[in-house]
Every structure is written in C-alpha cells, then in structure tokens.
C-alpha cells in the first residue's frame, strides 16, 4: 500500500469522488486558487476547473446554505469551512436546515451534504482557530459526525460521507495533515464503526481524532509498566459505536476517555455516561476523562501544551485507576 499524508488522502478522496460522480464539487474560502488554507485542495482547480472547485466569499452562513441548496437540488457538494471556530457562523444552516430538512419535509427532501473543516489545537493559533467543538455537532440528530484519525480514514470516511444520503460533518484535526500513513484499500468504510488501534487487557483508552495518537503514545508508556492498554478510536461520534466501547470495557474493566473538547460538556462525558449506563457492572474503577483545560486556547506554546490533553496525562489517568 502506498504511503501518503493525511492531507493527500483527503485530496485523493475528493479527486476520486469528483472523477466518479459529476454531481460532486468543492466550495469554500480559498479552496481554488490558493489551494485551501491547509493546502488540501492544491491542484484541484487546475484539474477540475472553476465550476467544480469554487472559491467563496468570507461568509460561512451563505456558502454552507448554498451547499444545502445544491444538495437538495440533486448535487453532492463538499463544503470546506476553514476552521471549526468559523463553522459557528454557519451553525444556523447546519442545525436548523441541514439537520432538520428531511424531518421537516416528512422525508421528501434529503440533504446529501458533506462539510469538512479543520479542528483542534496545537498549532499556536490561539482562541479563535484552535478549538474542538465536534461534540456540539454530535449533539444534533439528523447529521453525522466523522473524526478521522488516520490517513486511511481521512480518505475512507470522506468517501463514506459522500456516499451517505444525509449531511455529514468531517472534522480533520489540523495537526494531522502532515501525518504519513498507509492509503485506504478499496473496501468502502461505514460510518458508525469504531476501531481498536492497539489491543490491550487492562484499560481502554477511548479517543478520536488527534487524541488517538496521544492515546497510542500513552499505551506504549503504560506497556513499559506492565499495564496493557487498549486504544479504541471512535472514528465517528454520531453514530457512536456503543457496542465497540462496551465490549472493550467489558474486557478491560477500566476506561479513560480522551477528548480535546473542554472537560465540561465534553463528548468524553457522553462516552463516560454511556459506559456507566451500559457497562456499569463491568467497571473496576470510575471512568476517567482527560480533556482540555477550561480556558480559551492560549497562544503561548507552553500554555497551549499545558491546556491540551497529553500522552503523559492520559497515562497518569490510566495509572490512577489501578
């Protein structure tokens, strides 16, 4: 299998989808001539032309709304919102229109829209470009939320999102774009399936997005202390693979949930509550959470590092369960 970066994998998925289906197009801020704020769509304008790679004004509510309209009208749009913080300007379109239209129309309309955006901290971009709000969107029925952590998933989950008849939001953690890894094979991926990234016996580290890699580092450190940690990558937050979570915890009897959201109201809280509800009698320790510090993301690198979950914190949280 060929090696490529996460960024190239997202691009490859879009290229593949546009080549296969004339209804697929990309629009967003700077996606055309600039090649995307994170250089994801570099070269696509030249390849597919301005009809299918469309630069938009700086107005998220408008171009996400236009994407919804195109989807309802029979297209398969991919809308890129530069960062998750900016998606808040399109929240009305996403929550009130995209998520609700199938239900409001009694099933007459579907919205086969894909919205991609970069999320997460770690790049020194401070409190307006660095947050993790995926759990807010995962709160809303009617949309699906994918959070690819690997190169293969960056491609495979985007293709799965495009194949889905309903709106899917794909959160690409901005620190993952340079990540190198193996390409996906040709097997179509399904939304709603978690994956065990490292098998273990003593504790389950539940994570998604970039936190998966921190959890893997923590698991490696714990292995040296003879604590065998399993790393479960959620891959999609909605639908949530409850069965995978419960079956892992039923084997390990302990869980640490890692989340880059702020601890209060984090998606990790949802996972912890689910474990409590569905696997209470399997627990040998309280479910632990490792989440971001409750501050707007600091700009200074040391403070930003301190605010974000780290492999050391995850390992420490796991140790405390024994």
């Amino acid at each position: 299998m060929a090696k490529l970066t996460y960024r190239e994998a997202v691009r490859a998925a879009m290229r593949e989808a546009m080549a296969a289906d004339p209804r697929v197009f990309l629009m967003g801020e700077d996606v055309g001539r600039h090649g995307g704020a994170f250089a994801v769509s570099m070269g696509l304008l030249e390849e597919f032309g301005p009809e299918r790679i469309r630069d938009t004004p700086l107005m998220e509510s408008t171009f996400v709304g236009a994407g919804i309209g195109a989807a309802v009208g029979g297209m398969r749009p991919i809308v890129e919102v530069m960062t998750i913080n900016f998606s808040l300007l399109a929240l009305d379109q996403i929550v009130n229109t995209a998520a609700a239209l199938r239900h409001m129309s009694g099933g007459q309309f579907s919205v086969p829209l894909v919205v991609r955006m970069a999320s997460g901290g770690g790049r020194g971009l401070a409190a307006q470009h660095s947050h993790s709000l995926e759990g807010w969107f995962a709160h809303v029925p009617g949309i699906k939320v994918a959070t690819p952590a690997t190169v293969a998933d960056a491609k495979g989950l985007l293709l799965a999102a495009l194949a889905d008849p309903d709106p899917v939001l794909v959160f690409e953690h901005a620190t993952l774009y340079p990540l190198e890894g193996e390409d996906a094979d040709d097997t179509p991926m399904a939304l709603g399936r978690a994956a065990v990234r490292r098998a273990g016996e003593d504790v389950t580290l539940v994570a998604y997005g970039a936190s998966v890699h921190k959890a893997l580092a923590a698991a490696a450190a714990l292995a040296a202390e003879e604590i065998s940690a399993e790393v479960l990558d959620l891959r999609t937050l909605r639908p949530l693979d409850v069965e995978a979570i419960v079956s892992s915890v039923a084997r390990t009897h302990r869980a640490v949930v890692v989340d880059e959201m702020w601890r209060t109201g984090s998606f990790a809280g949802e996972v912890a509550a689910t474990i409590m509800e569905q696997a209470f009698d399997e627990l040998d320790a309280p479910v632990a959470r490792v989440a971001s510090a409750e501050v707007p993301m600091p700009y200074a690198k040391p403070l930003e590092d301190a605010a974000l979950p780290s492999a050391e914190q995850i390992a420490a949280a796991a140790r405390a369960l024994f």
Binding site: H253, E282, L283, D284, A285
Partner: protein, 431 residues
C-alpha cells in the same frame, strides 16, 4: 421463609466447611437449637438457629469445599408452616456453586465485619442498638458501603465471595476485580500463569499441617487487625491471693474430685463482677464508637492441643455461682479441645480473659480480640515475700494485667477496674 446462611463466627472467620447437618429436612427447629456443624479455620462449631421454623430444604451437602461466609445453606420455613413433602423429581440439594449468587446478600442474622475499615469512616448514622447484638460483628452503618467496584461486586456475587472478607488493593482501598478473583482461587484468576497443577490428595500429616496453617492465618488476621486498629494501653498489678487460695483449699478438701474447683474460676468470677462496675471495658468497638454490652460473656482463652487457641464465651459469668461457673468452664474447655463449640460461644464473648500462669510466666500483656474492648491476663500464682502491716510475710500472689482499648476507656478507669478485681478476690466467700 428465610435462608439459613453460613454465619460469621467471629472477626477472624471468612469461610467455613459444612461438616454435618444435625437437623434433617422437614424437622422443626427451635431458636437456639443446633442445626449444623461447621468447620472454621479454628474449630468445629455447632451452629444454632437464629429463628424458629422448619428446615425445609438443605442447599448444600456436607463436604470438603470451603464456603464463604454468607453462603445460603438451607431454607427455613416460618414457625407454623408445614414443610412441603419433597416431590419425587426434586433434587434434594444443589451443589454449593449453584447456590452462591445469593451469597452477596448480607446475612441479617450475622452482620459482617469489614476486613479493612473504609478509609474515610463516616460518623455513626444511627443510635447504638438498645441491647448487645447476638453477634459482636458490627453491622455496617446505614448508608455506608464497602468500597468495591461494580465488576468486583458482580464477580463476588457470582463466585460467592463475601466482599467483607476482602482487603481492597485499588485506589483508596477499593475492592477491585483482582481482589475477588485472587481469593476465589487460581481456577478463575485472569492470568493463569504459574498456577500449580491440581494437588494430589493430602496425607494425614499434611492435613494436620494445613489445619495448623489455617488456624495461624485466622489468628494472624484478627491479631494484626487488633494491633493495627486498637490503641492498646496496658496496666498490671500484683494481687494477694493468699486468702482466696486458702478458702479454695478448704472448699476442695471437703469435696470429691468431681466437685472441686480450680482457682481460675475465682479469677474469672472476680473479673466478671468487676466488669459490672466498669462497663466501659465490656463490649465492642463498632461504627466508630464503643457499644457496651449488657451482659458479661467472658471469652476464655483456651490453648488447643497441637497449637493455636480459641476464646469461646462463658455466658453471663457475673451471674453464675462459683460451682456452676466451674462446671461450665470444665464443659467449655473439654468441648473446645474436642472441637465441638457452639456458634453462640464463638461470637458472644464481650471481653477475653487469658491465663498463662500454667506454663510459668508471671504476667501476660495480651492483644485484644477485636472488636472487643479489653483483655484481662493472669500469670502464675507464686509465693513471694510481701509487706503487710509493716511485717514481711510469705504470700501467694498473682499478677493481673489489663490490655484495654484507649478509644473506649482511660488508664484511670482501667486501674480502678484492676483494683476492684483485687478487692473482690480478698473476699472469696462472697464471690
């Protein structure tokens, strides 16, 4: 309808083996009647019924299997109820392992003692019971729970392990899955690595050795708990026994050997009577406070042939006349050594008395048997020069010691207690 559960017969008991059913299915049982014989790590004990009724069904047959405290052993029907005739197809008894899921239910008759106190004891949430409980093991305060993880609780219920017998190794002393599985044996341990092959049948010598080892383990658990939890203070005094010994000699001289008394009976009676005057030494430390007993049940430390000891109760020792006390003591020692004590004797003692004078020591500084509040020790009776009224004269004396729980009493009261023992022994005819 009630389940008859394997009772906890003292702080050092976590398990037992069913030796024999004394009652058979269908038989009526009066409260206090012996229903079964149980082997503990320390002795064979005749277990008495806590309630009257009919033995409807036995759930466990006698065998070599160790059952955790709380295992349902039988079903006892209401006092008036007729035992149902066993139907032809009904199995007479289940195997113990089939009966264990109910073991997690606390035995109402036999409240359990946590092997380790919760790390953050809660203040007592209810008034002490109006009378001394039949079993000295403290009932967990309302609302307090042993800290145990959910999966540890579930597994303990499946395996019939009593959580109260476990020492939690998780954070803050929480009982975790590994604690349950480690006591349940290698067969269910998560990692079977290093598990020994099934053992060959034991020889008689190995069995005796194993029995001694089990008794040492039981004693070790209770004594280590005592020294860990109880702030002991120790007092000693030398008591002139000349009058008491002379009185006893003349008493015995008039009687055949079958009616004679040992001087130890005088000591026991004096202790029992003195405890009435100093009740803070008589009872139990439970739920973070002293719960004084209404009755004086002396636990008499009896060494067993081949090692180890038991301290069964001489009930209401303060109320018994000396000859009756002697008869009961003789019976108790004989049965202790024949391993046929009764469950109430194993659980009811409110204080312990030990005498090591037989083997020549002059004083005993004993370890309190938890959750009791005190232990009284006697050394050997020796003839010593003694100053009385300015004159030196040979007198027969004994050293009496008190080990007491400083949480429940202070040295001042302890000293007055020993003084009362002395005073009472000066008038043996009034004992």
């Amino acid at each position: 309808m009630a389940e008859f559960l394997l009772p906890k017969l003292g702080a050092d008991m976590s398990r037992g083996r069913l030796v024999e059913w004394v009652k058979k299915p269908g038989e009526r049982i009066a409260r206090g009647e012996v229903i079964a014989v149980i082997e503990t790590d320390k002795a064979n004990v005749e277990v008495e019924a806590f309630e009257s009724g009919t033995l409807e069904k036995v759930l466990v047959e006698p065998g070599d299997e160790w059952l955790p405290v709380g295992t349902p052993l039988a079903v006892i029907g209401a006092a008036g109820a007729e035992a149902p005739a066993p139907s032809a197809g009904e199995k007479p008894a289940r195997k113990p392992e089939a009966a264990v899921p109910a073991a997690a239910k606390p035995a109402p008759e036999a409240p359990r003692v946590p092997a380790v106190p919760p790390p953050k004891p809660k203040p007592p949430s209810k008034a002490p019971p109006p009378h001394a409980p039949a079993v000295p093991a403290p009932r967990a305060a309302e609302g307090t729970r042993l800290p145990a993880s959910p999966v540890a609780r579930r597994r303990a219920a499946e395996l019939g392990v009593d959580l109260a017998t476990l020492r939690g190794t998780g954070p803050d002393g929480r009982i975790v899955l590994a604690d349950v599985e480690s006591v349940a044996g290698a067969a269910v341990a998560k990692r079977p690595a290093g598990r020994p092959a099934p053992a060959a049948p034991l020889t008689a010598a190995e069995k005796a050795q194993e029995k001694r080892a089990r008794m040492r383990e039981a004693i070790a658990a209770a004594m280590a708990r005592s020294k860990r939890e109880i702030p002991h203070y120790y007092l000693g005094t030398t008591i002139d026994l000349t009058r008491a010994m002379a009185w006893l000699a003349s008493y015995n001289a008039e009687r055949p050997v079958t009616e004679r008394m040992l001087y130890g009976v005088l000591l026991l009676k004096a202790v029992a009577a003195a405890l009435r005057e100093y009740p803070e030494l008589n009872g139990f430390w439970t739920e973070g406070r002293a719960q004084l007993a209404d009755s004086v049940h002396l636990g008499v430390a009896i060494s067993l042939r081949g090692g180890g000891l038991v301290a069964p109760a001489l009930h209401d020792a303060d109320k018994l006349a000396l000859p009756e006390l002697m008869r009961r003591l003789q019976d108790l020692v004989t049965r202790a050594r024949a391993s046929s004590l009764r469950s109430s004797e194993m659980t009811d003692a409110t204080v312990t008395v030990t005498s090591l004078g037989e083997r020549g020591v002059e004083a005993v500084y004993g370890v309190i048997y938890p959750p009791q509040l005190a232990l009284v020790g006697f050394g050997k009776v020796v003839t010593r020069p003694w100053v009385a009224d300015g004159e030196v004269a040979p007198r027969e004396v004994v050293t009496a010691t008190l080990s007491a729980d400083h949480r429940a009493s202070d040295g001042h009261r302890g000293a007055l207690f020993l003084d009362a023992v002395d005073r009472l022994l000066q008038e043996p005819e009034k004992l």
